[in-house]
Symmetry: D2
Subunit: 378 residues, 4 copies
């Protein structure tokens, strides 16, 4: 496989030799990925070219590959458009677009997904993940691996907006988890973000939920309670700092939270399960005036007890992605080693085996949690 | 009927002669109200005695009288406890409790419902309508007509917390609507409150919805769109300032809002209908990153499309009552005559006819919107 | 003078004929303006070309013309760089840059000053007036008439970010005041923005202060008190809605505010005078926990009683420009005719007489408040 | 010395035997403290009696003892009123007032200073440290050791509002530092509170500053820079987590911060020095749009460069005390051992030697930082 290399042997090169073409997976029909040779893209203003060093598989990638949405490539379907999916990647800056001085050649970076258009009302108010020009590349919007080419490839172009520095001592695979932790961080932020000493329930020990435990505990939340069905993942939650875990196959989740909090409930619930009754349960885990963030959702409409939500003055925050620069905050906590994100990384594959990596993640083969594709032997 | 009167003929008396007993309606079995003689209550610290001059009937009163909840009288049911319901009242300060200097004898006041305990976490953070000691009178919580005696009576005790001055030129009946406007104001506040030039849809032209139109327009929202089924109420919405109204018996509400906003949707939706599909529709009326406030709710769980809410980064705020001193802000706008709240006042009855007043409100007799009980001929 | 005109006589033209060159004032040495022929600029992505129809003179223009700062043209001084000052302008969209669909040819617009770079931390959090790349045009930052060419000319290029629609029935000269009202609005916003029924003191009846009175009153503040030294301007404040005015040549400003508020003070003070003791006085006009916004400042350091500010838990907000889309909110209130901004427009000159217009504004000739340069006879 | 003891030997007693009188220091003339026998006070509603186990000396105590203000005992001077100062105490709950179930006999607690009246506008909005009824005990306001008797005594009454649980494994002396850490936490909170990965400068390594370092670092701030003049205290800052310290006797503080941040400055500055030029320097340490919290202040007015503050859109937050329940958050971080507050505890004295303790703190005898009076040998 060709790869950008420093022009000299120096650790901080002056220039990288960039090949004309690269290996990249593209999406043909639903669930049909094909490895092709594609031109290496050229960074524009406020962009850089990233040599991808590692990329994790996200449940949303699997959705896009199967159903298309919400990946909109210039307003249309992602199928048979030569579109490369994948958004949880990290890599090395190998070329700078015009005007870029925020990064240098050789910088290791991880990415967040959304570069807003910068010109709509939401972007102007700082809510760039809710960009009103979503999918309009010509207006400046980019969502890596959603509306523009992503990271199951050797290279990708990124806006300087969507990148965060990775410290030298953080392994490639761990750095792919920054964006996952960033989503959890964003969920806590939108609920208020000042959570030291406050109770937080994380519902669902998927990758975002487990990172949510790590982030909440790093910020001093107390107690942090994790609920789920799989013992191994709950155990992982404990290692990430959960004060208590609840196996909902053995105990009613709401009753357990009430038991663990002396009947008071918690202030915040971060729902990461997408289970049909999760919002109703989360509403009953928080106290009056409490807040619930939905970072996951069931595919179809589900019965919700709105009367309970209104009578108890509960606020419910749907979140998309990892806005308000939460990725930067998550990266900072990980750089400071406040929690061990690596714990959720269970499997590793090379670029050539992306379909296998996706299968492992999708089918939870060998109880896979986070499956990472790495470009380099390490 | 006996009544407190100034000891002298002065407009601002030094003292009121307070009778020992008063007429008051009490709740026996569900839907059984009885007019009794009751001791006139004594104001404690930070409280005053209010001579009630007018009280409006709220849909929640009807719920309490029928189902009990959420009226909790010292932790129990409101039935057969000598409990007096009613919370949308105004009147005259006729006696001051110890330490009170915020009000003077003879002041005309309107009330909000909630006096928090002042000692729980929510009260300490200013969210007194979500008081964690709801219903615990001994801990200082009071919710007029919910957890403590209300206003279908000649007198009531009120915390100085829950009162707002009524200007001389505002009629008694109009002043009973301050708390309704306060609820609408609170709904707009929790969604951000800075709404000049922003689009707001009000769903449901009940009293809160109609006041929501008035308040939103007073604060400069543009456009303010009101949706509903009754032509007369929609017409009233126009007179309160709605830029457009949508008769949902003739046009799909979501399609109409998209049409009226050039496909952009609005920033805020204030849901006041309690219709089963209202949240799903409201979510599709706001744009990406938009906010929905639920001031009403269906009695039973309803199907909600959470996927839409999450994918569009929508925040949903359940509200109970009229917190954050919204009643003060509503009173100020009404005192400044920014909208004509009186429009929604449709029927008037004397204290002796409270059951009839309630029936008019409950059954919408003669298309009643706001039914007011007044104590004085005027 | 040449001017863009519709290609046809239609009110909404399909195309404007744009000349190659235009008349524009450029800044040579300090205070030396010269009228030259300059190329009409070309709008880039997310930009339009605006035919300027009117422009008001701001005190900051006078500062820039005399001292240079804070106008930074690509990192340097504005002198002898062919730089055209002026930022309070409005006009007609006559050409669209690539990808623009937010505006159409023939739209009347007013402008705000700041288009942030969209890539720094502040822009990403919605604080684009505090762009960390201020003055770096290559990184996307634009501040009309500060870091890029402004409006004392026939045409100017604007980012779609910095424009707001002007309704048909608003005269050109009035529309130039939108940005002034936007600054006042921003000042109220940063202090919390939910001001109905709250007391606001506006210190200093200059253009921003007078617009502050109009905006505060439009949002329901009560009382709104204006302090100043010039009777005519205080009188104008009354016509814009001030509940009370204080002539500080006759009464101590703090004492007056305490008198007018029954010793309670107000919640918010908007300082627009730049007087040396204004912050100390404003701090004593607000109550404990109150907020002060500084929209003006003395040139040199002044003694400030920080002990008073800390002991009374006062927050002080310096603001630059009119961020958070406040201009849109101000425009909405003006379009709804909530206050009569035209009152502060006192003098009018043609483009050829810009130096005279500036002299009138600087020296307050004939008690000038707002001096407007208009391009068309009307 | 008499002392409340459990009626039985059980670790969690059912009852404490409370003596009628206690030893307490009272303030006669300025700087004249006298040890007297005083009645043990009786807890009212929502109050408990605390047996004081330890109390730290705060610089404000020294101010009160010397100058009186801001200690206002029922509206008057604290001198010769039998007033007991001291507010940084912790102890054991030995008697419950009516309605109290938030605490149990035997609970170890630390205190915050302010119990707002609960009825003024500020208290209703959650800003109880800015209570508009400050010093009016009859209206419910209490500020321990300021407006009501404090903790240089064997017992004190406390509102349940102002208490936080102390874990078993936290020594008495350490628990007296919770309120100091709470003040630092409040300062970070008012500036936004979401500081992971953001730069923070703490100006002045006094007790609040040093706790500010610990709290900021615990919340993930990066870098945390401490500036000061005393090498030993700067060294202590490093042990509390500072990423860098600046000895301002050797290097210009602003230049050092710019050097340490690559010329970018930080987002937040917490000023704890009270130095005359500290605000001007802090304003130049933060970047455009940055925030400064003043937790200390010079006694007299000082020259402040307001032009710099306005031009750079800087917000300045004066804080009094430790509002918004910051003490609870600080206690949680300390309970989780996120930083070692004990480091700043340098000297210990018994109750009989309070004047000596105060002298050590005031004159920094033996470089004293935090001087603690403990009631029990341990």
């Amino acid at each position: 496989m060709s790869s950008a290399r420093p022009a000299s042997g120096a650790s901080r090169p002056n220039e990288y030799q960039i090949p004309k073409t690269m290996k990249a997976w593209v999406l043909d029909d639903p669930e049909q990925l094909r490895l092709v040779d594609k031109p290496v893209p050229e960074p524009g203003a406020a962009e850089v070219l990233v040599r991808i060093d590692a990329i994790a598989v996200c449940a949303t990638d699997i959705e896009i590959i199967k159903h298309g949405l919400p990946a909109i490539v210039d307003g249309g379907s992602p199928f048979n458009r030569n579109f490369t999916p994948g958004h949880e990647y990290m890599g090395t800056v190998v070329k700078l677009g015009p005007s870029v001085d925020e990064f240098r050649l050789g910088d290791r970076i991880a990415v967040e997904v959304h570069a807003g258009c910068g010109r709509c009302q939401r972007c102007r108010e700082g809510m760039y993940t809710s960009c009103l020009n979503y999918g309009y590349h010509a207006k400046g919007h980019r969502a890596n691996g959603f509306s523009t080419d992503g990271g199951f490839a050797e290279y990708a172009v990124n806006s300087v907006n969507t990148m965060v520095h990775v410290p030298d001592d953080m392994p490639d695979a761990e750095a792919t988890l920054i964006v996952t932790a960033g989503t959890a961080m964003y969920g806590l932020d939108v609920m208020g973000g000042i959570i030291a000493g406050e109770g937080v329930v994380v519902v669902g020990p998927g990758p975002i939920g487990l990172m949510g435990v790590g982030v909440a505990k790093a910020l001093g939340a107390q107690p942090v309670i994790l609920t789920g069905t799989r013992e191994r993942r709950l155990e992982m939650g404990k290692r990430l700092g959960a004060d208590a875990v609840v196996d909902v196959t053995k105990e009613d989740a709401v009753a357990a939270v009430q038991r663990l909090t002396g009947g008071k409930g918690v202030q915040y619930a971060l729902e990461c399960s997408g289970a049909p009754n999760a919002l109703n349960e989360a509403a009953r885990m928080v106290n009056r005036g409490g807040r619930v963030c939905l970072a996951a959702f069931p595919a179809d409409p589900v019965p919700v007890d709105l009367a309970y939500i209104v009578r108890n003055n509960i606020y419910v925050f749907g979140i998309r992605g990892e806005g308000k620069s939460a990725t930067h905050r998550a990266a900072a906590l990980m750089a400071q080693k406040r929690f061990d994100a690596k714990l959720i990384h269970t499997h590793t594959f090379p670029l050539a085996e992306v379909p296998t990596a996706i299968r492992y993640a999708r089918d939870r083969v060998e109880d896979a949690i986070k499956v990472v594709v790495t470009m380099r032997q390490s």
